[in-house]
């Protein structure tokens, strides 16, 4: 299984701090684009849809980046919050039967090389996607807690920001989810 895990090189010279929000956003993009693709690759099997959802997330992020405050949480947590909204909207509109292209505003179609790249990314997430499907019986909020902390490696604090809940509420969700998983494993 081939994975696309390499982090792209920044265009800004190393060691120099970002001089503008655009440069700062570029660093955020470079740090997170692959992770966000993975998030959507666990949810969709269609490369074009994974690409469109990733694009939609970053377009929303760039529009709101001036309001993002890194002191309140990591950029990754913030992006996961946006991604969750993007995916929820996608699901709502899919359920409403709207055309996929209309849903996301008609992003640029992928060429063959890009389809292959994204398909490899989907492949790389297959095991994680299977794992998430096995947890499908968990309530959605608890599944999201497990995914962000145990699969994505966010701290509980970051995950709480991503899900828009208090740290206390998030810890309760996470704790409940882990208890249920332990109980489920014991029963099998």
């Amino acid at each position: 299984m081939k994975t696309i895990r390499e982090r792209p090189a920044a265009t800004r010279p190393r060691g120099r701090p970002p001089s503008s929000l655009l440069e700062e956003f570029e660093q955020v993009y470079l740090r997170n684009v692959d992770v966000l693709m993975g998030y959507f690759a666990r949810r969709c099997r269609d490369p074009q849809m994974v690409a469109d959802l990733t694009s939609e997330t970053f377009v929303r992020a760039v529009d709101g980046f001036a309001r993002f405050d890194p002191r309140r949480g990591s950029d990754r947590a913030w992006l996961f919050g946006i991604a969750a909204h993007v995916f929820a909207r996608h699901c709502e509109q899919s359920a409403g039967g709207r055309d996929a292209a209309a849903r996301l505003g008609g992003y640029r179609p992928l060429d063959e090389d890009e389809i292959e790249e994204v398909a490899e990314r989907i492949d790389a997430e297959r095991k994680a996607a299977e794992l998430m499907r096995r947890f499908a019986w968990l309530p959605a909020v608890e599944r999201a807690a497990i995914e962000l902390v145990d699969l994505e490696g966010l701290t509980p604090r970051e995950a709480a920001v991503a899900l828009g809940v208090s740290r206390v509420a998030f810890r309760k969700r996470l704790s409940r989810a882990r208890s249920r998983l332990r109980e489920g494993a014991a029963e099998q």
Binding site: F25, D34, V62, E114
Partner: protein, 177 residues
């Protein structure tokens, strides 16, 4: 960078880069997270200590720029930036009418080393007339204490660099908005 992520970044930078270059992050009360540039009264132009890139969005209906625009006999466009004097509104529309898509201006502290206007470079693909920018009367702007309310840029300023860009300032294409 993979081809897909490379292309996605290119699209984002092309369609949203100018707006983000202009944007600044709001400063929380009582903190100094980001230095807020001193903004000239009624203008889209800002100045910051070490220099800041500013995009003058041509054609933006809400902007009331503090700069004067004139056309020289050789066809070049002269933009005079001077917040001390009262400058006419509508400069952006005038620039657009002269075929200038937009300007990215980098200001720096201190007096200009060379007197007179600075000729802007062109961004790749940018078209339109040659644009020259004159800061103040001779290349240096002097901002005295109390010149404008809330002015944090007291001192001398000069134009470090400027570049003309294409007319597309975002809002079209595959933004999905």
């Amino acid at each position: 960078m993979s081809k897909y992520t490379d292309n996605l970044w290119r699209d984002i930078a092309r369609e949203h880069g100018a707006a983000l270059a202009l944007a600044e992050r709001p400063e929380a009360a009582g903190t100094s997270f980001l230095r807020r540039p001193r903004v000239l009264a009624g203008s889209t132009l800002g100045l910051a200590g070490a220099g800041v890139a500013v995009f003058l969005a041509v054609g933006a209906a809400s902007s009331t720029p503090a700069f004067a625009v004139t056309k020289d006999a050789d066809g070049s466009v002269l933009v005079n930036i001077n917040q001390i004097t009262s400058l006419p509104h509508g400069g952006n529309a005038k620039l657009a009418a002269m075929g200038v898509g937009g300007l990215i201006i980098q200001m720096a502290g201190g007096p200009a080393t060379v007197s007179g206007p600075v000729t802007c470079t062109r961004a790749p693909g940018a078209t339109g007339p040659i644009v020259k920018i004159l800061v103040g009367k001779n290349g240096t702007e002097v901002i005295a204490p109390g010149a404008t309310p809330g002015n944090t840029g007291v001192g001398t300023w000069h134009l470090a660099s400027c570049q003309t860009t294409g007319p597309d300032t975002g809002g079209t294409g595959n933004t999905g908005q």
